[in-house]
Symmetry: C2
Subunit: 290 residues, 2 copies
């Protein structure tokens, strides 16, 4: 890479933003940070998560930043992503690459911008906030980038280089439509189901106490994820999630029929060996490469 | 304990049986083993999982065993549990304590037995078979025992002592009815949902590739559990599971209403903090005690 990222600005120092900051600093990249919550900035400085801070979006949205910062990563909630990038309009079409980390993409629209590319680093935790940031959160994980606004190849290449080499992620590219359908199935529906399962346990007033098996524990962990962020995701990707849920209801009904007729679960229900192999590959990749 | 278990027989050397055998041997208990599958016995001997083996249930079902073995653990599939214990009838009402490890209990019925107590060690894995056995599988985990046949206190005390001290588990007691309702919610429904989710992904022909987030990975892991065992569980505890599922459908519909009306997920959906605290307690217990 002729022009790698040397200095970045992370806007939003939650789990994702602060993890990006920590991993970048560990690679020698200078990290500026900003968060709407002043106490998050102070914690980030205290804990050496960022080198320097900004005090407002207005201070950031200034031509002085051009030539100084190579990449701005907007790591705020899906709904706020649109507003924050709108408020960086002075930096649109500049040498600075601008990206986001939202889990939904279809609501994002930036006209006449040559430097905005969308990113979705596939990593998370039931923990949130600046204290939850960890250096290794992204290592070996996937990062899906979308280029719906036809950004310059220079920015696409630099962004891919950053995610691949600084953050040690595996980058793939797809359309916004593909992205939102895929993650409705692989991420949003599992979270929705977890919320529903845990809610139904609460409503049934079953005293789970500490009788949760490993399966339920994972559902509990998922349902403990940031509810504000997830309500935005459910809203913004609602149609795709509802379609996936409709498909799942068919599978539930098929299973119910098997149960009520005392039939054996056919071998198709153990097809997940195939998917397990994929997971093994991810694990191997992680162990091999880093 | 005046009369602790010194010698046991494990019938069924799958994940659970072989893990019990390994953990018991590590505590100096002599372990006899039997499995309907001769190659499992051979592997158990090769890998030093058991000290001695039996060649048939007929060989086991003999008065000679009395005074030699203190405890027989029948660790076969839920349906086979009834048959295997029926075939040990010569040992009923003897000094030998007899127990099982089935995840469902309502189908088990042994009349006029003073030495049969039911156990359910709450541990599992998506792996199965004698090779999957691990010494630490049960440490700090719950073991629910049921005493529906009114076994002698001598046997109850000895069994509790075994699970608590040899296997380092936390024992609680409940009725068969309570057990089957509780585990429909905390274990069986989460597994059924996982099968349905993974099945619906397969049916929708979505190319998940390696874009699975941590949530989906856990569903994949659960749905990879032994399908034969799970089809038996779904059948034997069908009514309780269907009731739990009905409750969950209400929660799904509530969530759908929130999504379609673009409402925020109310704070009740983050109530799982409470359950997370329970999990923290288990973890602390594990770290403190062992």
């Amino acid at each position: 890479m002729n022009n790698p990222v040397k200095e970045i600005l992370v806007i939003g120092l939650g789990l994702i933003g602060s993890s990006i900051a920590i991993a970048s600093r560990a690679k020698g990249i200078v990290v500026h940070g900003f968060d709407i919550n002043e106490s998050s900035i102070n914690k980030a400085i205290e804990n050496n998560i960022i080198d320097k801070s900004f005090s407002s979006i207005e201070e950031i949205n200034n031509k002085d930043l051009i030539g100084k910062v190579d990449l701005i990563i907007v790591s705020v909630s899906p709904k706020n992503t649109q507003d924050v990038i709108n408020n960086l309009d002075i930096l649109w079409n500049s040498e600075i690459t601008i990206t986001d980390t939202s889990s939904v993409k279809n609501h994002l629209s930036f006209k006449e911008s040559s430097n905005i590319i969308l990113s979705h680093p596939i990593a998370g935790s039931d923990r949130s906030g600046v204290e939850a940031g960890t250096e290794g959160l992204f290592i070996g994980k996937k990062n899906v980038i979308c280029n719906p606004f036809d950004a310059d190849q220079f920015h696409v290449d630099r962004l891919k280089d950053f995610w691949t080499h600084a953050l040690q992620m595996r980058v793939s590219e797809m359309s916004v439509k593909e992205h939102d359908i895929l993650f409705a199935v692989t991420s949003h529906l599992p979270h929705l189901i977890s919320y529903a399962l845990i809610d139904s346990i609460r409503l049934s007033a079953t005293d789970v106490d500490d009788n949760a098996g490993a399966g339920l524990k994972e559902f509990i962990r998922l349902s403990g994820s940031n509810p504000k962020m997830w309500s935005e995701i459910f809203e913004l990707n609602g149609m795709n999630i509802i379609k996936s849920l409709a498909g799942m209801q068919i599978s539930i009904n098929n299973l119910l029929e098997l149960i009520t007729k005392n039939k054996e679960i056919p071998s198709m229900f153990s097809h997940s060996e195939m998917l397990k192999n994929e997971l093994e590959e991810i694990k191997n990749y992680k162990e091999d490469k880093f």
